[in-house]
């Protein structure tokens, strides 16, 4: 079995400690680079997971009424007519909207729910099975984020919604749901459909939009086309359209960070290039001394390998470790806002855990081996020169 050379490793550790200032600088730059890269990857990965989950829970088709180029309330009768189209499994009028809570400067997504209707997505189905909605006229179920914001504003058990006519509508908090889909459910307030009509001041024969589900996913486009033909004053959005729209916004923001990533990598490679193209006269002399004392080129390269591996690997681990703390414990202050954009108007939510081993392997292979090679190469060049020439 290969026996590790304890003295060679000790010498490598000593070498790192001997050149403290230089190595602390390299450690900080290296860890910072890894920290920035892995933080960006962790946040994007977390948001991507969230968006994928959200997109998957979307209905196949959403039908909105357009009036003067703007969305307006749609007649609920249209749902019955859509239901007549072959292949449509359900068409449900939704009553929902954003309620701006001025004190906190944030929006809640208020969703009207009818326990006896078919729910258009699984998360709502689970909630209707979990809670008793028979008396929801005076109660609401809120997301974690909403609960937190309300408590911060001294609304512990209830909240006073202000209706369009200026009257108050006092609604008690019945429960807080703990959904896996943090981004989607965090800012959500579930009320009965009647209450939602009251809060938004919508007529009872109207709805915000109509969601349509289709039995065969291949037919979604055709059915969307048929709906558009039947109701020309509507806007028909398919799940695919929404996914593309989400992805475009997300990719645009990822693109900004990709530029930053390239700039950081460029800086890193400049340092590496500088390191690989020169070796201090003291370092060359030390290599010469070791050769003169009987060290082979292999021994010197092994020692340099241990030295650069220890420094770069520790920096890598620290960088990745700190990025996990920054993203999942501190919730990525600053960075998250850049990615979330418009959602600063929404209640705060938690970044869900998502860790792609391949990404960390990529960061590892783009940094640690390159640094090791950049350290070993000039040492190899110095060690193949006659020791006599170096130490004279």
């Amino acid at each position: 079995m290969l026996k590790l050379n304890k003295y060679l490793i000790e010498f490598a550790i000593n070498s790192i400690l001997r050149d403290k200032t230089k190595n602390i600088f390299i450690f900080i730059v290296f860890s910072l680079l890894i920290f920035i890269l892995s933080s960006v990857f962790l946040v994007t990965s977390s948001l991507q997971k969230e968006l994928n989950l959200t997109a998957d829970s979307l209905p196949d088709i959403i039908v909105q009424k357009m009036s003067a180029g703007r969305i307006s309330a749609i007649n609920t009768d249209i749902a019955d007519e859509i239901l007549q189209i072959k292949g449509v499994t359900n068409a449900i009028p939704r009553v929902w909207g954003y309620y701006y809570f001025e004190n906190a400067g944030i929006n809640f997504s208020v969703v009207g729910i009818d326990q006896f209707e078919t729910q258009y997505k699984n998360s709502l189905k689970q909630i209707t099975q979990q809670y008793d909605f028979s008396d929801l006229d005076d109660f609401m179920i809120v997301g974690k984020g909403v609960k937190k914001v309300l408590e911060q504003n001294y609304y512990k058990d209830y909240f006073n919604f202000i209706k369009p006519n200026g009257d108050f509508k006092k609604i008690k908090i019945k429960a807080v749901f703990n959904d896996n889909l943090t981004l989607e459910s965090n800012d959500m307030v579930l009320v009965s459909k009647d209450t939602a009509y009251e809060i938004f001041g919508i007529d009872e024969d109207k709805a915000t939009d109509i969601v349509v589900n289709v039995a065969n996913p291949v037919e979604v486009k055709t059915i969307a086309y048929k709906i558009k033909m039947m109701f020309p004053d509507t806007r028909v959005i398919t799940k695919e359209d929404l996914k593309i729209s989400y992805t475009n916004i997300f990719n645009y923001k990822t693109g900004i960070f990709l530029s930053l990533f390239i700039v950081s990598l460029f800086t890193f490679f400049m340092i590496i290039y500088d390191k690989s193209s020169s070796l201090s006269s003291q370092a060359k002399r030390e290599i010469g001394i070791l050769k003169a004392l009987g060290w082979k080129t292999d021994d010197i390269l092994k020692e340099k390998f241990y030295e650069s591996f220890l420094l770069s690997f520790i920096s890598y681990i620290v960088g990745v470790g700190v990025s996990f703390i920054y993203v999942y414990i501190l919730q990525a202050p600053l960075l998250r806002d850049v990615f979330m954009g418009y959602s600063v108007l929404k209640p705060p939510f938690e970044l869900i855990f998502s860790c792609d081993i391949k990404t960390f392997a990529l960061i590892f292979f783009l940094s640690v081996p390159i640094y090791i090679a950049a350290t070993i190469f000039p040492s190899w060049r110095a060690s193949i020169v006659d020791a006599d020439e170096v130490i004279r």
Binding site: Y7, L8, A292, L293, G294, T297, A387, D388
Partner: protein
């Protein structure tokens, strides 16, 4: 023990060819203490570097302990040096920011030795050269004489048969130089073959010196 046969060594410095040794030959027997005498630039240090296989001759053969070291590859030359040669450099060539003991054990490290063996060898040479009490001191904090003792101890750690010393007293006062000469005598008594390159007159009248080789401009002169 050591045979130099028609050695020619040429350096290129600033695109200029410099002849360091011009076809020299001599032999050193086992247990000899040979002094290479001559002014700076006479080629003394080059002879030591060639015997230690730190560099190769431009032409000619060098045989040390029946091995043609001038033909050895870089790695074999290192192994040969590690096993047979102890080199005391003019400027000691210690690593200044590690401890005395860490400097002394450097030649043993490539052999991946046991801790017990390392400690026993290190203690024995540190005791021999009276630096045991300084073993944990960082070398740059030592005096010139102490640094030289560390360099000698380091050259002895692998128990070499051949000891080469390049201008060993150049940075020492007379008292320390005499101490060093005393040490050389002790090493000779241990059966070591010693080659000293120096222009210090203290070495020229020593009764235990086997042979003095006078060098000038890369030639051996009578």
């Amino acid at each position: 023990m050591i045979k130099l046969n028609n050695i020619f060594k040429q350096y290129i410095s600033n695109n200029e060819k410099i002849i360091a040794l011009d076809h020299i030959s001599f032999t050193i027997a086992k247990g000899d203490l040979v002094v290479l005498k001559g002014a700076s630039g006479s080629g003394k240090s080059t002879v030591l570097s060639l015997i230690a296989s730190l560099t190769k001759p431009t032409s000619g053969d060098i045989e040390v302990k029946n091995t043609k070291i001038s033909k050895l590859s870089d790695n074999f030359a290192s192994t040969f040096r590690q096993q047979n040669i102890g080199f005391i450099f003019q400027k000691y060539n210690l690593i200044p920011n590690i401890s005395v003991k860490d400097n002394i054990i450097l030649p043993l490290i490539p052999t991946n030795p046991d801790e017990l063996f390392v400690n026993s060898r290190a203690n024995s040479v540190m005791k021999l050269f009276n630096i045991e009490h300084k073993q944990n001191i960082i070398v740059r904090n030592l005096s010139g004489g102490e640094q030289q003792r560390v360099a000698i101890a380091r050259s002895m750690i692998n128990d070499p048969d051949i000891i080469l010393a390049d201008e060993p007293t150049a940075n020492l006062d007379e008292a320390l130089s005499l101490d060093f000469i005393k040490t050389l005598k002790e090493l000779k008594d241990l059966g070591k073959t010693i080659v000293v390159a120096t222009h210090d007159p203290l070495f020229f009248e020593l009764d235990f010196v086997t042979k003095t080789i006078n060098m000038k401009n890369g030639h051996i002169v009578e």
